[in-house]
Symmetry: D2
Subunit: 365 residues, 4 copies
């Protein structure tokens, strides 16, 4: 069915396979009048591009974006924004084994069962290249959010078992290491760890954290379209993500009410919270505090280490997946998590605009 | 905006406040021909009813469901199923402080900001009674899933810091203790813990786990409507849930690829997996193994313990929330998590039915 | 599938069969703060109630509406508004023939084929009572539109071949005759015509016209969700409607550009049109002129005259449909057309609110 | 808001402006396994291409389509199909007057009011080129329908006042004249009429008729997503369409029940109808008879004849629109109406697949 769209007002539809002509996204429902150029989007895409360090794959794809519609004289027109990125590095090759085998940890088997056959080239639609459309859309959403004073920041909180402690956070370090970690010491340990795994032809996962500041209070719709619920969908829909939490998340399960509740206070004549265990949401709506979410990313499934599996003929075989694969996908997932967060907030922010008659009257009089 | 609906084909719309005339749900898109009676739904509702143990509130509401449409001669007709539960225990009372104060951990403040005013009686739309519609819909979804050989089971994995170890699981115990835990010893420790918190007028949270067996392979739509992504939205949208994970979830973040990948094997001529770290999904589609998800539930926000907060006039005050509140909401959340899981699977199962031309031809010839 | 909902932001979901416990609607996405009471809705329902003249059925149903949720202290809360009308006149009777025969002009046959069986009592879901939910929702939408200075008016333009000429329009007559026609002479002729058909146990159709004034310019979304396109869906989805046109409609097909184009002019410093052949829309958006639409309503299908048909066993039979049926449904369709128009405009008006960054900034600063 | 998508399962999203880099469509939810190549789509696009006769514009655009995704080894994969047509004939020119004036009959004025500014080049998003995405999607939908034995045929029923009588229909003539009329004599008269209008620098409209054969019974969802209701939206959303009718349409309004009802009969052991006044739908579902719909198309708005209008500064001016414009758009609208009909049927056909438990069981066992 049609599962390639996300959002209700600010609605994105991604398309494309890793080895077809290209990948892209159509953004429908973006308000008119937002300054936007290709460079705004390219900056985001460059953050997920491979070939940036020894810990990411050596493919060298430019991933240049082309704006096909929806922008006129440097501003969005209110009509759909179509963005295209051509696939460039499509080496014709013999997929051999891969074409008829189910790689462990990959979507090959369910894809075959669901559709009757599958595009076996590089994972087809379940390739990491599918995230290009998400990131391009995230760039546009961020442009809108920035106009309203909302800013987002995502980074790596953990690589394998190496986690950045709350006390060690140094945001200025994020762009200074290959892992986008807010701590040089944690990044150093992570580097050693990943190097050792590479030597063993193994891989690891980690945790991405994303924060957003400046959200007005009340963003998010009660019941099913809660801010945290849609963020959970948005982030869990990213390929390798296996868990999502907001604020204290799973730790809240072992806390007590008197500690977990965030007391309200007045500061400078404004309501605010003394603590932020809730991670910026109450009842599924933004509560004025910083929005905090975390995503658990599983270890890269493609490893050169020999694994057991079966092929389409139902024979048990051994498989060793060679090629240019990231030993850890987390650093490249950072901008994807940030992008999906931006898209989710943008959509709910527009939804919230029509929540009360006073707002409508303000616009139509 | 319209955030009270969930699902695309099997689509539920809940409505109702805790202190209005009633709560309910409309289920649109349920296939015709499913045997259904009020008793099927009542059985589910009874599982979330208050007044069942000393650890849940002493309100005594029958929560009797009435089928208003969509069922004829004991079978669903294919037209919308409207279900109504009247609110019975609506003591008229003086809300006093509560009506003009923001309770910590509750949605009062964002509700007021979003809509300009709020229904302060018992939390209004953000009350736990909102889940009645979810559970009634879950009963119908389960009826459909059962017809196809799919079964679900949810239970409490942890109360505060007391977790049931994998080794201790005894499913027969689930209905034998007030917490729905699959372990009598864990339930006993949990009981002592909750009693001690009640003495301190405090509260705690916990973890709900839900498993599903019998899913065909390929359920879930690639990209945004992945099985795990929609489960994440569905479960995170339940009032007190702060985190969701699938399979190994957050633990996968610190694992390695060679351990986290589940090797495929042939068993009895069928493809299956040796392990199930993925929790039954690959690429967002069911992979034939048991589906496993967990939800982190925060401690009950309403506590009698004195807390700091502010009122609508912007004054800092102290608040103590009396009334009939569960010291831990987890046991009553169990059936809600199971229901949302059932609704999500039912919807994606119907979506998957039209995934390939062969299926369509089978139906139209 | 789920086809019982309409609208994206102001989203209505109707449910109910003619001979079940009741019918109703859930309105999700209605902005908070709109004054609303049961009397507002009852007034609309009373306009479609049977038993009002000798030309409509003699069933005497009160059709009292109950607001089950979404209204607090006389104002909408922003959460779903659930409205219930109990079915009262459910005489238990022997459906005999009807239960196993396909009535010509009715939905019996496709219903049976689609769902495998059908609720044969009074047409089930395809009964005219399904429109009660539409009208109740239309009352709420109108309440919102009125707050913004938008007013609607629907009436009967033709009964069978008797049409009200443009020159004869006298709006004050609409409520003065049983047909809601804006002309006493046309109504008189229509009365004689319908009486003669009743004598022959036959029936007739007619045309409903609806106009709306006060729409801001730009309501309607380009491409598929054009104002006129959604009005066409909304109105064509009413049971007996077989055609919809906007402005000059089908007459425009035989006009020429120089006559059909409406020249723009300035009046009192404002842009306006000299003529209004377009019926108030340009490019699918409101153009500031009066919105005009017409719906063709077919003759009532239920007639006592003997007709050929077949039964479920595949036998050719004769059928004569007795009971309380309107010889012409048009007068009761008037408020339904007005209601669907109101719902469509309300939804698109809310959608348009977020069309440009300037609007968003106005609300979030 | 996001109004550029149509359909729920087979969901199309069009994008693009007349003078941007290109136009296109993303089709999400197309079942896997349908044979599809660029030539299938090109054939449809060629039917709407300008430069085909003296009655259509002399622009010479190849409108070559590129499949960017969703097709592998000659078959659809079940993932989104992205189709791109580059704009080729974008002469840079001085829009002068047009850029700041509101052309009568065009969307310029509401576009400006809605979005704050507008892409004035060739109508931007409201250009006829927007229909390229519709037609490309229609080609894919038709490919699916053909696999199931459903065929569509659209043609011109009237040019201005010149209508093809029922008795004169000769389907073999449709491709033999520039107007796609099923009658050579009517086409000849239409040709003379259009020539005379061209001499006067005026334009005309007409009526497109579309029929579909082979639909299974029961396609269309009761209530809002009726087959006829969604066809009405689909067809009315085409630029110049001002009216839509099904079967006898507006004529049914002046008929009587005993004549308008189509009696059921048995033929070759199958239920069928003696007549087809209903145009193939009952209660919004297909009834086994031929589906018949008509669309009223207004005269081309762009005429060289001098017209009154105003500019953005609020001055009354005179305007004469030169350039390459069709004196009548009807012939090029034929394939657009057929395409939108195909897309609507395809979507509802997939929706209907999951209408009953028996169908679901057939697929999952």
């Amino acid at each position: 069915m049609s599962g390639s769209s996300f959002g209700k007002i600010f609605r994105i539809t991604t398309w494309g396979e890793s080895h077809g002509p290209g990948v892209g996204v159509v953004i429908d429902g973006c308000p008119a009048g937002i300054p936007l150029c290709e460079e705004d989007i390219q900056r985001f895409l460059d953050r997920r591009r491979p070939g940036q360090s020894k810990y990411t794959t050596r493919r060298n794809e430019a991933d240049s974006v082309e704006i096909l519609s929806g922008v006129f004289e440097g501003k969005t027109t209110g009509t759909p924004i179509s963005l295209l990125v051509r696939n460039q590095d499509q080496r014709s090759k013999d997929y051999g084994n891969i074409a008829v085998s189910y790689r462990p940890g990959h979507a090959d088997y369910p894809f075959k069962e669901k559709y009757g056959f599958r595009d076996y080239r590089g994972g087809g639609r379940s390739s990491g290249r599918e995230t290009i459309g998400r990131v391009a859309a995230g760039a546009v959403a961020s442009r809108l959010l920035n106009e309203l004073g909302i800013t987002l920041c995502a980074y790596t909180k953990a690589i394998g078992p190496y986690t950045v402690d709350e006390a060690d956070y140094d945001m200025s370090q994020i762009t200074e290491n290959s892992f986008y970690m807010p701590s040089s010491t944690a990044a150093e340990k992570a580097g050693e760890y990943v190097s050792s795994l590479m030597a063993e032809t193994d891989s690891c996962g980690g945790i991405v954290e994303c924060v957003a500041d400046g959200l007005p209070v009340g963003i998010g719709e009660p019941v099913f379209d809660k801010l945290d619920a849609l963020l959970a969908q948005a982030v869990m829909s990213i390929g390798a993500v296996k868990g999502v939490e907001i604020g204290d998340g799973f730790s809240a399960a072992s806390s007590v009410g008197s500690r977990n509740n965030d007391p309200f206070r007045m500061r400078d004549g404004k309501v605010c919270k003394e603590t932020n265990h809730s991670g910026g949401t109450l009842g599924g709506m933004s509560d004025g505090a910083r929005l905090i979410l975390r995503a658990a990313v599983k270890p890269t499934s493609s490893i050169a280490k020999t694994q057991h599996t079966v092929n389409e003929s139902g024979e048990e075989i051994e498989i060793s997946i060679h090629g240019r694969h990231d030993p850890v996908i987390v650093p490249r997932a950072v901008v994807v998590v940030e992008s999906m967060t931006a898209v989710t907030i943008a959509d709910l922010l527009l939804q919230n605009a029509v929540s009360k008659l006073d707002n409508i009257k303000k616009l139509y009089s």
